[in-house]
Symmetry: C2
Subunit: 116 residues, 2 copies
């Protein structure tokens, strides 16, 4: 069985205050790109919402990494979606766990593009 | 039970040739943004790969819409992730189905940020 992509969906609860800081979220995504050994296309795009919340998105040659945060709930939704054998998406997950210090973390892995 | 986000993951197989055309994919994402009644932040970002494949990404106030295509397999992976009660993500799904004409379509709905 060959799979085109691995898509990790992270549900992070009880995160620290960094998830409300646009620069911190951007730094986390940039470190995650490096850690996963993937290729960033363009810049990491970020948006700060009023009054709460940050979105960040990296388009990578291997698919994408995204973060959407709800600081008022201590919650962040992170997606790490990579294709190819060389990417190390699990290393990206470690970056978000270390930086945002969630009290609780759920990880779902969805295989995308299963070739049978 | 309150849910912060609804995340639809589409697996489209047997798509038409439009999935290999950067402008067509961009148009599809732009129409999907309108159909879902969500707010685009900035432009739809696209990338054409050599020799095959297109990625497109819309950061929206309600989270994101992404498309990654493998024309050599007739395959497209589409994500429609929205938060809030006003978004109509199911309308975006219809746009991709109509434009890419997949022979087979799987849809997974993942609830993100379940508040209990």
């Amino acid at each position: 069985m060959r799979v085109l992509g691995r898509h990790y969906l992270l549900e992070l609860w009880g995160c620290n205050e960094k998830i409300g800081d646009e620069a911190e979220v951007r730094d986390a995504v940039e470190e995650a790109v490096d850690a996963a050994q993937v290729t960033l296309l363009g810049d990491v795009h970020t948006h700060k919402f009023n009054p709460h919340g940050v979105s960040a998105m990296a388009i990578i040659a291997e698919s994408h990494i995204s973060v959407h945060t709800w600081p008022e709930y201590g919650y962040a939704a992170v997606d790490v979606y990579t294709c190819g054998e060389d990417a190390r998406p699990e290393k990206a997950l470690e970056v978000f766990k270390r930086r945002f210090s969630p009290e609780r973390m759920e990880v779902h892995e969805i295989k995308r593009g299963i070739l049978v």
